[in-house]
């Protein structure tokens, strides 16, 4: 009997030490025939079946994921890109091609430089390589705007912000 007690104590200790990851139903075994068939045949047990009452959230997520609504790229990435670049004036946005181009924007505290952004949403899936952001910078020299390199890491920093926001958006939909 000592060993089971040690096992319990270790589990309690570990639980107290850190916050864990919530596990979904399909991470545990089952002998339910329906669940087994769905898992083995590649179907998703979470959204299979017919919704009798309530809202079919799996369908909402599928539509938000780019399979509906006239958006041919991932909707989370698309919306996240739009929101992230919303501090700049928008020049054009093509949801079918996944291209967002902003106009030139001069930060209020730096009148002698301005920025422009082009963003490409490349994927239907919510993936970290599904978005590319290119920042262009110009500085004012002698009354002329001339091209200048943006600081290193700006592009990837913007992409990180887009991905973080996309993750938040997906989380909000999934938890509804």
């Amino acid at each position: 009997m000592k060993t089971p007690i040690i096992l319990i104590a270790a589990a309690v200790l570990l639980t107290a030490c850190s916050s864990g990851r919530l596990q979904e139903r399909d991470e545990f075994g089952t002998d339910d025939q329906r669940e087994l068939i769905l898992r083995q045949t590649g179907a998703n047990p979470r959204d299979a079946g017919l919704v009798l009452f309530g809202v079919d959230r799996s369908r909402q997520q599928a539509e938000a994921g780019g399979t509906g609504g006239g958006i041919s790229v991932n909707a989370f990435l698309w919306r996240a890109t739009l929101e992230t670049l919303s501090f700049m004036p928008l020049a054009s946005a093509d949801p079918a091609g996944g291209v967002i181009i902003t106009d030139w924007y001069a930060p209020p505290n730096a009148d002698n430089e301005r920025f422009k952004a082009q963003a490409y949403v490349l994927s239907r899936q919510l993936r970290s390589d599904g978005v590319r952001v290119q920042i262009f910078r110009q500085v004012l020299r002698g009354g002329q705007w001339v091209d200048a390199p943006a600081s290193a890491g700006t592009n990837s920093e913007m992409e990180d912000r887009v991905l973080s926001r996309a993750r938040e958006l997906r989380g909000m939909v999934a938890s509804r």
């Binding site: 060993t3 089971p4 096992l7 319990i8 270790a10 589990a11 570990l14 639980t15 030490c17 850190s18 916050s19 864990g20 990851r21 919530l22 596990q23 979904e24 399909d26 991470e27 545990f28 075994g29 089952t30 002998d31 339910d32 025939q33 329906r34 068939i37 769905l38 083995q40 045949t41 590649g42 179907a43 998703n44 979470r46 299979a48 079946g49 017919l50 919704v51 009798l52 009452f53 309530g54 809202v55 079919d56 959230r57 919510l126 993936r127 970290s128 390589d129 990837s156 992409e159 990180d160 991905l163 996309a166 993750r167 938040e168 997906r170 989380g171 909000m172 999934a174 938890s175 509804r176």
Partner: protein
């Protein structure tokens, strides 16, 4: 770090949800979903143990340890009770001698080899979430294949195979920080929720699969000594979150009853009553009967720890250790005193498996105080042990695999309870029941996925049981039984069919 996939798998996404849930958006009204499944197989069956029992065959006995007849007039079909009978209202614990048989009615049944089996099921799933992140809901599974069909000796009072019954039914509450609780008729952490090494993801499960639907129960030719065979008796289950790849589980069940308070009629508390902790015939109820609802197991608890992780790129591993413990009901002597005749379950289960490039291999080992079908042992019996191994490979829509199981169990008891003295006496050396029972089998199978939720299956399984000195065919009598002692009871099934789930 930036290049780590954000949410390409459901598992990863689920892990991230806990960090990004915003209370204002978290609350969800209950969603009620109906799903189901349907499987249909053609099977070619070869088995021995085909002797006939019309229910009237002379010279045979049937052990009635769980029924109750005392005090009420019941038509026993001409059966004569030869065992000791307690006072009115009690339970019959002795063997019943079957009346004389019409000449020529006994003998081997002529059985065909092919049959169809249909396995329908309906599931109800309720899911909701509160604003504080607590998810809750329930699951109810209705199976229409749980019963094994009418038995001749039961005449009109039995139910057909297609009778609907509840398989699993439980309420859950799941919190991102504290984990999940399931309460109801459900398998435990060792009983299938957190087991590594049992490779059953091909065909219908290989040697643990649907072949059992085709063979008769001669010699209990089944492989129920698998995690799912521990039973989905009413229990409360705790499943922890995952910490650094580790998670833990525990469960408790007071008895073997499903549905709670089962088998406790108004005026007679029989052996099948959930709360009976001592009853006549407990010594013969170590192996569960009647679908697992009746047996001597009491105060069952399960503990399990599991690790899952990717130790190399593409190489996933999983390992688990589990403990299954229990007490056992006591028997009753002729004098009305309770006697401790059974051993509690005391079982350790270890398992590990690895997956790489479509391959999954695994093995599991169980050892400790248990008999086949996870039965309780009578005092003086030896521990059991069982090993299983399997491999499967998935390539596109095709999955193929095979598994094997071999167990050594006490089988027939080598000691017996004497209700006259209250003692458990060892049988004479060399008599039937003193040897160990070997149960082993193997299976191979293949699936072809036609669509998500639909596949075609072909599978073959072999299973064998042998215990020296013991006649595996209980319906044989006299010289035929003696000649059959120590022989093997075996079943082979080839099945082909299809399954659909929605």
């Amino acid at each position: 770090m930036r290049k780590i996939l954000l949410g390409t798998t459901a598992v990863v996404a689920a892990g991230m949800l806990s960090a990004v849930v915003t209370p204002a958006a978290a609350q969800t009204a209950p969603t009620v979903r109906i799903g189901g499944s349907m499987a249909a197989y053609w099977g070619y069956t070869l088995q021995n143990g085909r002797s006939n029992n019309s229910g009237l065959a002379g010279g045979t006995t049937q052990q009635l340890t769980t029924g109750s007849v005392g005090g009420t007039a019941q038509n026993l079909g001409g059966l004569a009770i030869t065992g000791p009978i307690p006072a009115a209202g009690g339970t019959v614990g002795g063997p019943l001698a079957v009346g004389a048989a019409p000449a020529g009615i006994d003998g081997a049944t002529r059985m065909g080899t092919t049959d169809f089996v249909v396995l329908p099921a309906i599931n109800f799933l309720i899911d909701a979430k509160l604003a504080n992140g607590l998810a809750y809901g329930a699951q109810i599974a209705l199976n229409m294949n749980s019963l094994e069909g009418r038995q001749f000796t039961q005449r009109r009072s039995s139910a057909p195979r297609t009778t609907m019954s509840i398989d699993e039914a439980w309420i859950y509450m799941r919190h991102p920080t504290f984990g999940e609780i399931r309460f109801g008729d459900e398998d435990g952490p060792v009983g299938g929720l957190m087991n590594a090494g049992w490779i059953t993801g091909f065909g219908t499960g290989g040697v643990f699969g649907a072949w059992e639907q085709f063979g008769t129960r001669a010699a209990n030719n089944r492989t129920m000594t698998a995690p799912g065979g521990i039973g989905d008796n009413s229990k409360i289950v705790y499943l922890s979150p995952q910490y650094f790849g580790f998670d833990f589980g525990a469960s408790f069940s007071p008895n073997l009853g499903e549905g709670g308070s089962s088998g406790c009629p108004n005026d007679i508390a029989s052996a099948s009553c959930d709360r009976a902790w001592a009853f006549r015939g407990a010594s013969g109820a170590g192996i569960t009967a009647a679908g697992g609802s009746i047996g001597a197991r009491r105060n069952e608890f399960q503990l399990s720890a599991r690790y899952r992780g990717e130790i190399m790129p593409g190489l996933g591993v999983q390992a688990s250790v589990g403990y299954l413990g229990s007490a056992a009901a006591r028997d009753i002597t002729n004098a009305g005193a309770s006697a401790r005749t059974m051993r509690g379950l005391d079982v350790w289960m270890f398992g590990a498996q690895a997956s790489y490039a479509g391959f999954t291999v695994g093995a599991a080992y169980s050892t400790g105080a248990f008999n086949w079908f996870w039965g309780n042992l009578i005092r003086g019996s030896r521990n059991g042990q069982q090993v299983t191994a399997g491999i499967q490979y998935t390539m596109g829509p095709v999955t193929v695999g095979g598994n094997i199981v071999s167990g050594l169990f006490e089988g027939g008891a080598r000691s017996a309870f004497d209700p006259a003295t209250g003692a458990v006496n060892a049988l004479a050396p060399g008599s039937a029941g003193t040897a160990m029972q070997r149960r082993w089998g193997w299976g191979v199978g293949a699936n072809y996925r036609l669509a998500p939720g639909l596949d075609l299956i072909a599978e073959y399984a072999y299973h064998s049981i042998r215990e020296p000195l013991v006649n595996p065919d209980i319906n044989l009598a006299g010289a035929a039984a003696a000649a059959n002692a120590g022989r093997r009871a075996q079943t082979q099934v080839l099945l082909v069919g299809t399954r659909l789930a929605f």
